[in-house]
């Protein structure tokens, strides 16, 4: 049985279990912290860095999704500095890929777009990279447009942790990182993909999509995930 700890978030006294993350406890108390890679039901990897928070006595900023709460901790989730970094992160995501909202199937239903709105981003200050990336339309039902991928790795995790196939992975490092199926073979030729479509449903942008959808038509339903994760944990006895 894990202990209950008390801490302060934004000056507010809160309590949580010691095995919970700052993000969990903040959300339980109605405190919003922006996230993109985090999704209930998947492991947390701290990939997007949007949930960075300030902790009194710690000089570095720490990602709330992978930092556990501790007794007496004082956390700050809102400051000029955090807002500046969050905007910078989202601007980098936009400038790094080719995000063309008006012609995207996920226009209006996109977590990256929603995050930009929430952070009041009305233009991207950094120079656009305009990378050249090929669409993979080899799968019979689904498509991958890496131009819209933000490397959150939700698809990698859901495929590995929930479906158990581990079809998706990340190839390369740094700015050259890219999503691949199997050993960088076309998705349609993948021997491990079960075509379950979980990756498509939890993708925060229009990078993974169902074929045949037009602009703004791709709505995702990631709601199945916490249920599947719970049932899996129950089966494994944890």
């Amino acid at each position: 049985m894990s202990r209950v700890v008390t801490l302060k978030i934004n000056g507010q006294d809160v309590s949580g279990r010691e095995d919970e993350s700052i993000l969990d406890v903040a959300r339980e108390n109605g405190i919003e912290i922006p996230t993109l890679c985090q999704l209930d039901g998947l492991s947390n990897v701290g990939a997007c860095r949007l949930c960075l928070v300030e902790i009194v006595g710690v000089s570095r900023l720490l990602p709330a999704c992978v930092t556990r709460v501790a007794e007496g901790m004082e956390v700050n989730t809102e400051s000029e500095r955090l807002l500046r970094y969050r905007r910078m992160i989202v601007e980098m995501l936009f400038s790094e890929g080719n995000h063309v909202c008006p012609v995207c199937i996920s226009n209006g239903h996109c977590e990256l777009q929603d995050t930009a709105i929430a952070l009041q981003i009305n233009h991207i200050g950094m120079p656009y990279r305009f990378p050249v990336r090929q669409v993979d339309a080899s799968h019979a039902r689904y498509g991958l447009d890496p131009n819209r991928c933000i490397l959150c790795t939700r698809c990698v995790r859901v495929c590995d942790e929930i479906e158990g196939a581990h079809t998706w992975d990340i190839m390369g490092r740094g700015i050259a990182s890219q999503l691949v199926t199997d050993l960088a073979t076309p998705w349609g030729e993948s021997e491990t993909c079960t075509s379950c479509g979980k990756c498509v449903q939890i993708c925060p942008t229009g990078a993974l999509f169902i074929k045949g959808k037009s602009v703004g038509e791709m709505t995702k339903r990631p709601d199945f995930l916490p249920y599947l994760a719970m049932m899996r944990n129950r089966k494994n006895g944890s």
């Binding site: 936009f94 080719n98 909202c101 008006p102 226009n107 009305n122 233009h123 656009y128 050249v132």
Partner: protein, 177 residues
């Protein structure tokens, strides 16, 4: 009260933002006494005039003609507005950035279905190596994302600017709106 000098220009875009601007409709009459439209694709003025109060810019910077135009417009405008996603983030026009201008010209003008395949020289503007948003080239004062921004949004922007206020667009429009 002296009338505010308003201008609009059209670079690499589909003219949808100008259509949305026209959709302001009868409300344009409400502000007609406050503004003077000194330059626009909608009116017949050849050269861009000096001392313009507000210029609404549609489109990305795509050709040498766009580049010359925006430099001149910036120098002659007090408040420059990036109107719509093409001006704000280069949008659909920038989807050609993965190709070189040479490859594009050859693919289009030397296509087998052309009656007289030839690359034009001097008759159409020369493409820049990359399409860029307006603020990558000159200073922009107001950003109005949207594809196109709604007529309500554009009317709000115009109304605020002609009354000397900076519009707050945080809850009114977004990329791809």
């Amino acid at each position: 009260m002296t009338k505010k000098k308003i201008a609009t220009i059209w670079m690499d875009g589909c003219s949808g933002c100008h259509m949305s601007f026209l959709d302001i409709d009868h409300r344009l009459l409400d502000i007609a006494d406050l503004i003077e439209l000194v330059h626009s694709p909608l009116v017949d003025h050849k050269d861009f005039p000096p001392d313009v109060d507000v210029t609404l810019v549609e489109g990305a910077v795509s050709s040498n003609e766009d580049l010359e135009k925006i430099l001149k417009v910036r120098a002659r405008t007090k408040i420059l507005v990036s109107m719509g996603d093409c001006a704000v983030n280069a949008n659909v026009p920038a989807m050609r950035n993965r190709f070189t201008p040479k490859a594009l010209n050859e693919a289009i003008y030397l296509a087998p279905n052309m009656a007289q395949p030839q690359i034009p020289h001097g008759t159409v503007p020369t493409l820049l190596p990359q399409v860029r948003p307006v603020h990558a080239v000159v200073k922009v004062d107001v950003y109005v994302p949207g594809c196109p921004p709604s007529n309500d949004t554009l009317f709000y922007v115009l109304s605020e600017l002609i009354h000397g206020r900076m519009p707050d667009l945080s809850d009114k429009t977004r990329f791809g709106a």
